[in-house]
């Protein structure tokens, strides 16, 4: 299923979908994907011993090699991190009084020595006011679309994953903003959700596929669906995870490793 909603009524409902139409949980696909990845990487790196691993992240896949993405500028990253902190607070039912201030406090408690946080501290009053307005606008769009996340769906935020390939020479790292459902069900129920403060582009689909791939490798279980929401435009992109999507992501990861290998 692919849907692009300009004004989604409830993102959470779209993520969970109809329980009766969910496929049985698939434990069989992960080993094959890992084998294809290992073979593909071996074809690039060969027997070379990498002292520093090639690290692949969602952000690496979001833009093609050798291009510049304005979303990676510091103000955009700052806004993205702050909206992500608000998502974390929202999912545990915390009340947001001042979007910028609350997000900053939450962030500082987790990562007090972050360079971006230091940059935030150096903003003058005008820049800070602009950022506050910006973050609040994104937050209002996002929180209205998301709605309340029922706790029985086991929502967890900022879920990290790290997969080591080629004997530790390649690391796939990933952070999913919000994950709901559990791998213990008889039917597929895990939905992966990302929020971005930029408009959705081609890169967003690559990131969605990457989340699905890393989650499959991590849990050896295929997730139900993967989604991205843009708080800039209110668009929601939802895709059911299937074998074709995972295979495509494997190809993208191998191509990305190839680019990084050439850059070395």
């Amino acid at each position: 299923m692919t849907s692009l909603l300009d004004s989604p009524q409830s993102v959470v409902e779209a993520l969970r979908g109809d329980r009766l139409r969910r496929p049985l949980v698939d434990h069989s696909v992960a080993a094959g994907l890992r084998a294809v990845l290992e073979d593909g990487i071996y074809g690039i790196v060969g027997t070379a011993l990498l002292t520093t691993p090639i690290v692949v992240r969602a952000a690496t896949l979001a833009r093609p090699s050798g291009t510049i993405d304005l979303r990676s500028s510091s103000p955009s990253r700052l806004r993205g991190v702050l909206v992500h902190q608000l998502l974390r607070l929202h999912c545990v039912g915390a009340t947001i009084n001042d979007a910028l201030d609350d997000a900053t406090r939450a962030w500082r408690a987790q990562d007090p020595s972050n360079d971006l946080l230091a940059m935030l501290d150096r903003l003058d009053d005008d820049e800070r006011a602009r950022l506050s307005t910006d973050v609040t606008a994104h937050w209002v769009t996002f929180s209205r679309a998301l709605g309340d996340v029922p706790s029985r769906w086991m929502p967890r935020t900022s879920v990290r994953a790290s997969q080591s390939l080629a004997g530790g020479g390649v690391l796939l790292r990933d952070v999913v903003d919000l994950m709901i459902g559990t791998v213990g069900d008889d039917v597929a129920s895990v939905a992966l959700f990302d929020v971005t403060t930029a408009p959705l582009g081609v890169g967003a689909e690559r990131v969605m596929r990457y989340h699905a791939l890393v989650q499959t490798l991590r849990t050896s279980t295929k997730p139900l669906r993967t989604a991205t929401f843009s708080s800039a435009t209110g668009e929601l992109l939802v895709r059911d995870v299937d074998d074709e999507m995972l295979t495509r992501s494997v190809d993208e990861v191998i191509a990305c490793v190839g680019d990084r290998w050439i850059e070395r």
Binding site: Q85, R88, Q110, S162, Q163, V183, R218, S220
Partner: protein
């Protein structure tokens, strides 16, 4: 020869690890305890030292001074929340986590929390910080719950960590444990870790195994000690053989020696 088993972290593999653990535990005698005490006493210390698997994995490098944060609070709150969920009629993990945080706050306001404790820190935290603490604790508890619910054997959340005070050596050993799985009359201990296992993960598990055994009143070891790394999707396990226990003890003594040497170097 020491043991180290590596598996993908899926329910079937974990069940197999529990079911196929060694038939019987190893027992540490009073002589073993005396021998270990003598070795620790030989490494003198000016102040009380605390050693655990992390200090072994870090090769004795001194820790940064501890301070509470959402990351350091998640395990305490998350484990207790899962325990609460299994023993009370709490509807969800998120609610259990909220109840647990509330309990800590009540303890602080009623004056039962000492300065430096988790309850004391939570009482002084702002609402957004409290929100992140809850989010981290929910993540932790969910990971542990997914693992535990998939187990066929009966399990319970460990109510506390294992501590062993080495007599007259000013040394306290601590083994973290999150789940205790029953296997007949024996036990398998499970510990949840963040990140991915490093090269010294096996040594860390052996240190945990040794301390867990020393902390048992009769010196009975668990039959297997399993470390889970959900972020990496892997688990490692060590068996309770005498060789593993000896290796764990050696690493702990070595860590004490490195700490002592560092201390002497700084003092000089």
């Amino acid at each position: 020869m020491t043991t180290l088993v590596h598996r993908r972290l899926v329910a079937a593999q974990l069940d197999q690890l529990v079911a196929e653990s060694p038939a019987s535990p190893t027992v540490l005698s009073a002589d073993h305890r005396r021998s270990l005490t003598a070795r620790f006493r030989a490494v003198s210390t000016g102040q009380h030292r605390r050693l655990d698997a992390w200090s072994v994995e870090q090769a004795g490098r001194p820790d940064a001074s501890f301070q509470w944060s959402p990351a350091s609070a998640r395990r305490t709150i998350g484990n207790r929340a899962l325990g609460r969920l299994t023993t009370t009629a709490t509807a969800s993990l998120a609610e259990a986590v909220s109840d647990e945080v509330t309990d800590h706050l009540l303890r602080a306001t009623s004056g039962y929390a000492r300065p430096g404790s988790l309850a004391h820190w939570l009482a002084s935290a702002s609402a957004p910080v409290m929100g992140v603490v809850r989010a981290e604790a929910v993540n932790w508890a969910t990971q542990l719950c997914e693992v535990a619910v998939g187990l066929e054997a009966s399990w319970q959340v460990a109510s506390n960590d294992a501590y062993y005070d080495v007599a007259a050596a000013r040394t306290t050993l601590r083994a973290r444990r999150d789940l205790v799985v029953a296997r007949g009359d024996d036990r398998v201990v499970v510990r949840l870790r963040s990140g991915a296992p490093g090269k010294s993960a096996g040594a860390g598990l052996r240190a945990d195994l040794t301390i867990e055994t020393l902390a048992h009143p009769s010196g009975v070891s668990p039959v297997r000690f399993i470390g889970l790394w959900p972020e990496a999707g892997v688990c490692l396990a060590v068996d309770a053989t005498m060789a593993d226990l000896r290796s764990g003890a050696r690493d702990l003594v070595r860590t004490a020696m490195v700490r002592r040497r560092d201390h002497d170097t700084r003092a000089a």
